[in-house]
Symmetry: C3
Subunit: 200 residues, 3 copies
Amino acid sequence: MTPEVIGFAAVAVCAVTGVLEAGRKPMDLFGVVVIALVAALGGGTLRDLLLDRRVFWVADHRLLVAALGAGLVTFFVARLVRVPPRLFLVPDALGLALFTILGTRIALELDTHWLVATLMGVITGVFGGILRDVLCNEVPLVFGGELYATAAWSGALLLVALRAQGVEGPWLQGLPMTTVFLLRMAGIHWRIHLPSFAMR
Amino acid sequence: MTPEVIGFAAVAVCAVTGVLEAGRKPMDLFGVVVIALVAALGGGTLRDLLLDRRVFWVADHRLLVAALGAGLVTFFVARLVRVPPRLFLVPDALGLALFTILGTRIALELDTHWLVATLMGVITGVFGGILRDVLCNEVPLVFGGELYATAAWSGALLLVALRAQGVEGPWLQGLPMTTVFLLRMAGIHWRIHLPSFAMR
Amino acid sequence: MTPEVIGFAAVAVCAVTGVLEAGRKPMDLFGVVVIALVAALGGGTLRDLLLDRRVFWVADHRLLVAALGAGLVTFFVARLVRVPPRLFLVPDALGLALFTILGTRIALELDTHWLVATLMGVITGVFGGILRDVLCNEVPLVFGGELYATAAWSGALLLVALRAQGVEGPWLQGLPMTTVFLLRMAGIHWRIHLPSFAMR
């Protein structure tokens, strides 16, 4: 998987989550398309602005086309086939895994400090979903607990550690991605929450 | 109309809409000024960040002065003369038309892909109004239907098509601007909505 | 006080306000850390994007570490010692003063027009707090009246005036900072509000 392939996969998967969430609201086609674009492009856009790179979908319009295409196909499929609401959590976890590792890798390649790079990964992974949920008037998944940002950050840290050990090839990205995805799925399945504190 | 004149007109007209909307809320003068600035400068600022240009009002402070001036004048006029609430839709449609065509044109001149350029036009046209409505705790006009973003996108596509045909001079911008404005006005007058879909 | 020292102090103080506000909400540790980071880094990040500088905490990761450290220390202290809720207004006013003057100064050094520079100062000073309050579902302090943005803007204008008079050394920044802090404190103490207008 080259970074380019990961980028297309992440954009498409996140556009799908946008349509699945927006499609349940009273919205016209335009609204659904906007939510799909925001979910697919939001995280990477913020990363590129913060890292002072060219915004990825301005530099390569095929990613915008991919987001539009995946969104429209999902829209028409979802009108024909009944999609169980919770199914939407699977592409969302996949998008989280793909975008987090891609974002961390891009930041590392620009010689960003490793701590900043893992934060860039988390931002890339979670920000599109936050915007999607806010526009759909839902509590963002990232604030709902259940190992969301924690899963993303663990994967980003693993990527940094593997890279520091000189690991290369498919393992370097495959292992952290799998970690993010499985941690998030485990968090949903067993309802694992970070401890909640209250001040006195 | 040079791009510079269009820019000043768009900024002033959008500052007016900000004051007209904010002035109906329990807000102090500072709040009204902030909303006017956000409405006038928000869309173009996001466009410039995405295109990696210098932010237009940082590069030319006269646009900031124009937004402030138009906002303050509107504020004092609106306290003397009763303004019918729906009148605010006219400068809003004008601002949409001016900013959309200006944004598309700026993006095209940077050799952006035409699909990305039309999206930049729509973003320039609608984003200031979205921020204004969110800060005023109103549902953004763009999500209320009635050919808002659709009108903007049609005009942006028309500009791209005219340019590809080699059209130049005043028609190149005048025709798409008129299209956006009239489509939006028609949408309000005949309450034209995009079809609304619901998933199963 | 060099700009570097001011930057660290501002980041730390704003992280403290984030924890003090977020810690009163039902949030897990991750949520509290996010709010602390957003409060500490949000204003400067927007300033750097608008001025097309490298984002300060991407350029120097020690500021990110400072925000994290100040946030975590506050978190554990606040669980042991009871903090009166209104105490949070003091570090908030301090952060406003530090960030406003730092932001104005950075903008002036980039040869930005003085009016734009003072606006950059106000943005640096207030934006982190706006994001913090929105994420905590509170009305942003800046919209609550009581000389918030007005205090910041007065200090920024004073810095511009002193600089134009050729003032240098510690007074150049110390005087405007003290002005912002005292105006804000006076605003809270005597509940000074800007006049509120309503349109007919």
